[in-house]
């Protein structure tokens, strides 16, 4: 059986429905929500604030700390055990590395910017949703940044190239599957995250990256609108 059309009837280069909102957590310095299909991410930013333990302080630039956390009943499979795991530690790290290039942390020496990403429900593409939410929350926190970061996963299912894989596509069993999360900085026009799980040919990967960039531009418009909507009355 070959993969002819997507299970939920989307076009091959179409993302799931997206919803974004800024300023959802009142006590945080900056916060945002990003929903893509059934994957929901909430991000809260605290800081720049005093950094402890003190040996982590860097007099040349501030530190960005990210935490990615899936809530216990967020996934469709087994209950996620609360607390950190090997997976969440890795995703926290790649989130931090994908956000670092846009932040001008030299403005905040010896301090820390904390980003907490919580996922109340997930269905594939959670690290990308987390990055999208975190980048909006960082902007909302009034931090000095060069650009926003947009992220989406692209991939191959059987012989088709797709944008924004959902769980059923990621776990497709009748053919090879590749999953490639991409984070893209739309104004700088550079990629800040590129991971791959599965098998894909070089030409296919190049094509996937182009598809991902295009989808990221659409996500960028949604992020921009969400940020501007928070202050809509002020214009």
């Amino acid at each position: 059986m070959t993969y002819k059309e997507r299970i939920d009837g989307r076009k091959f280069d179409e993302t799931r429905p997206i919803e974004a909102k800024v300023g959802v957590i009142k006590r945080a310095d900056g916060s945002a929500m990003f929903k893509i299909g059934n994957t929901w991410a909430y991000a809260a930013v605290y800081g720049p604030r005093n950094l402890h333990p003190k040996f982590l302080q860097n007099p040349e630039k501030g530190l960005l700390r990210c935490s990615y956390n899936m809530m216990p009943f967020s996934s469709t499979g087994d209950r996620v055990r609360p607390g950190g795991s090997r997976r969440s530690k890795e995703i926290s790290l790649v989130t931090q590395k994908s956000l670092n290039p846009v932040l001008n942390l030299e403005e905040y020496p010896n301090s820390v910017v904390d980003v907490f990403i919580e996922l109340p429900q997930t269905e594939a593409g959670s690290r990308c949703a987390g990055i999208c939410a975190a980048s909006m929350a960082l902007a909302d926190a009034g931090l000095d940044m060069k650009d926003l970061v947009c992220a989406v996963s692209v991939g191959r299912v059987d012989d088709k190239l797709l944008v924004d894989l959902d769980y059923s596509e990621e776990s497709y069993e009748d053919g090879p599957v590749a999953d490639v999360p991409i984070a893209f900085m739309p104004n700088i026009n550079k990629i800040s995250l590129l991971q791959m799980d599965g098998e894909v040919k070089k030409e296919e990967l190049m094509k996937l990256i182009e598809m991902g960039k295009k989808a990221c531009m659409k996500i960028y418009e949604i992020q921009k609108k969400a940020l501007k909507d928070k202050y809509k009355v002020e214009v």
């Binding site: 310095d29 900056g30 800081g47 720049p48 604030r49 005093n50 007099p59 846009v102 001008n104 905040y108 020496p109 010896n110 301090s111 820390v112 902007a139 909302d140 926190a141 009034g142 931090l143 000095d144 940044m145 060069k146 650009d147 926003l148 900085m185 739309p186 104004n187 700088i188 992020q223 921009k224 940020l227 501007k228 202050y231 809509k232 009355v233 002020e234 214009v235």
Partner: protein, 229 residues
Amino acid sequence: MTKIQIKDKEISVPGETLAIGMDVLPGRGTYRDGEKIVANRLGLAMVDGRTIKLIQLSGRYAPKTGDTIICKVIDVGFNGWRLETNSAYSAMMSMKDATSQFIQRGANLTQFYDLGDHVVCKIVNVTSQKLIDVTMKGPGLRKLRGGRIIEVDPNKVPRIIGKQGSMVMMIKDATKSNISVGQNGLIWIDAEPKNELLAINTIRKIENESHTAGLTDKIKGYLEKKVQK
């Protein structure tokens, strides 16, 4: 050929191109990238003559020289006090900046400012590593006794103060209270309990409606109505 790509007072997001051309200059909150002037903050973009600047709308307090702030004493050392400034960095107040009184060598400094005391002070210097020096010498700079301290968004402090202090004067007169506004977003209020509550509510109202035009008149009406009751 210069092309300004935004309307005046438009909200801009980080990375957004504000103008293209070499005859416009990047102001606060913006930077130049080749021909382009790009926003590096979320804020209100303004065209001011040849410069394009961004007014920040959110975020924590960033210490600036000349700001009058309200601080809490968090440590007392041999030759000064360490103060909490409601930002990522703490400030240092040396003995000679603290008081004009003579301080005996080896004196216990807690008799001037003890742990937990709040003071109104002025930033005299901020280094590139964000070391902050403050002074208590100047008009209106003092230790705060009694009263209550509330926290507001530091980006809305200019609205709470008003033009030449008109807004805060109005609240002071209407509620017969004593108010000190720190640019770091801490406000000290001292009044009768009922008036204190009114002053706090008024400040919260200003904070929530800071973006609307004609706010001073609106607050005037609000205060008159509340005081009559």
